[in-house]
């Protein structure tokens, strides 16, 4: 039986939902608006839309620092680390989902527990390792570290997806003469494709936004967009508008990607929760 909801209650809830949505989105909106202000207007009294619009911050930022280099670094680091992590995580999650042992659960929890450690706790050993192996400020170094950082989340997400695939279908493939490789390539992966796609998207976004390791392990050559933004935060001088322009340019690609794939993302995040 459908519950009867009065118009007033519905309006109330709608207004509340919009208010929360706007509150969450407001900092991003403010950043985008500030990026179109002059530096003077940016630190002046707050104005929502009634200010003199300018694109000078964007031209300025682009002439001062190589946006495209940072952009490419971000793309390579985010995509590279996600793809390598997927290549490791697919067989791992397959094994845990379809041949579980008594220790599988413990292993999964142990993997997740590594995400509970504050990264700064291992910064010095990793920094020294990177320095001694020449990986500091290299794309490959960041790809390695972000692969390992996001691996537990990727394994967990894929594990949840794979568990939803009926084991009988894989057994049927085995009976049909498929070996392990054929089973994973022809049956498991295509069936798990929606799950793999949302895992990929989410992890590209996580890796794109990752700021701790990218800021600490890079200087110039391998610095992604996070470092590009950080270079505009300064204790002195007028940098608000330029900082906002840099931020807008850094989040734009991932914002567009997220907008187009929101259906996949929501499905990925709520998978298993609702059937």
């Amino acid at each position: 039986m459908a519950r009867s909801v009065t118009l007033g209650t519905r309006l109330g809830w709608t207004a509340l939902a919009w208010a929360i949505g706007l509150a969450i989105f407001f900092p991003i909106l403010w950043t985008i608006l500030t990026s179109f202000k002059t530096e003077a207007a940016a630190i002046g009294p707050p104005q929502l839309f009634a200010f003199e619009w300018t694109t000078e911050n964007y031209t300025e930022v682009q002439s001062r620092s190589p946006y495209f280099l940072h952009f490419m670094n971000s793309v390579i680091i985010a995509l590279g680390s996600t793809l390598i992590a997927l290549a490791i995580a697919i067989p791992a999650a397959w094994a845990m989902a379809f041949s579980p042992t008594k220790r599988t659960r413990g292993l999964l929890l142990w993997m997740l527990s590594t995400k509970m450690l504050p990264p700064v706790g291992v910064l010095i050993p990793i920094y020294l390792l990177f320095r001694n192996t020449g990986l500091l400020d290299t794309r490959i170094g960041l790809v390695i570290v972000l692969t390992l950082v996001n691996l537990p989340i990727i394994v967990w997400m894929l594990f949840t997806y794979f568990r939803e695939i009926p084991g009988e279908i894989l057994e049927a493939a085995r009976m049909d003469g498929a070996n392990l490789k054929a089973e994973i390539i022809h049956v498991l992966t295509p069936m798990a494709l929606p799950g793999i796609a949302s895992t990929l998207l989410l992890n590209v976004i996580l890796a794109w936004n990752e700021a701790f390791w990218t800021l600490n392990l890079t200087a110039a050559k391998a610095a992604p967009l996070t470092a590009f933004i950080a270079s505009y935060s300064s204790p002195e001088g007028l940098f608000y508008a330029k900082l906002s322009a840099a931020s807008t340019m850094a989040i734009a690609p991932v914002l567009i990607l997220g907008w187009f794939s929101q259906k996949q993302l929501v499905r990925g995040l709520t998978f298993g929760a609702v059937k």
């Binding site: 057994e171 009976m175 049909d176 070996n179 054929a182 049956v187 069936m191």
Partner: protein, 333 residues
Amino acid sequence: MGSITLKNVAKRFDEVEVIPPLDLQINDGEFVVFVGPSGCGKSTLLRLIAGLEDVSGGTISLDGKDVTALPPSKRGLAMVFQSYALYPHMTVRKNIAFPLKMAGLEQSEIDKKVDGAARVLNLGDYIERRPGQLSGGQRQRVAIGRAIVREPSAFLFDEPLSNLDAALRGTMRLEIAELHQTLATTMIYVTHDQVEAMTMADRIVVLNRGVIEQVGSPLELYREPKSLFVAGFIGSPTMNMVTGSEAEKFGANTVGVRPEHLKLSTEGGQWNGTVGVSEHLGSDTFLHIDVEGVGLMTARADGEFPAHHGDRIGLTPDPERLHRFDGAGAAMR
């Protein structure tokens, strides 16, 4: 060729012995049904033969060759699953072609075989559809098609009809039986439905708690059940079991009489009772009779048999068709 020999095959899951060591010989071209209540180990036994489970002991041979250590993909057997287990991302054509593709056949040969199987199974109209767009019966046909194209040495069926409605189950049962006639390939069929077992099998293997109770043709099991368990499992409606002093009169611990082997009379008989519910099926009437000193018994009578609730009736067992069992449940001859 497809003879299957099990020698001392056993299966344990951790400490639980699901199947104690057993021997079984399945001849080439035979239709063998494993039947038993749920949890009796019949599906496990089938999966051991398929290679989907590892044996805990013993050997499995196909045509005299030991395959115990071979993975399922190398045993040359085909299996039809209860859930059909079709590949949801592939069309019917690709589903059926999959085992051939895995076997590395030429595309032209694959097409020829898939078209042939589709024709035999009347799948031509939906060959380009995906499993999600098919009905239960059509999906089951695709699963069978996928099994027959690779020309396996034996087919394994794991309760393939239990997800279908009663009418379709009847039709598919005939189709599978007919397929067996056409292909003359060994088939092992697992079911908990004794009607399926009786109608399809050359030989039935009755399993109870992982132990083979009896192996024999459907009529052998019907006529001469070796144990109380088989007697109670085979036949519909089930055999009437009489215990206590009434059974002792026949020199047994338990006496079994099938509903169709009871002679009914209004003038009294070996046992007397009152008619409770009578089920009129048209061709037959099943009478549920509360018998004095025995309890509830079922008798099968002619479709036109005039019986009403509360009628007094006498029952006399056919002495030739009486089954006697000792205290351990074994048949006494």
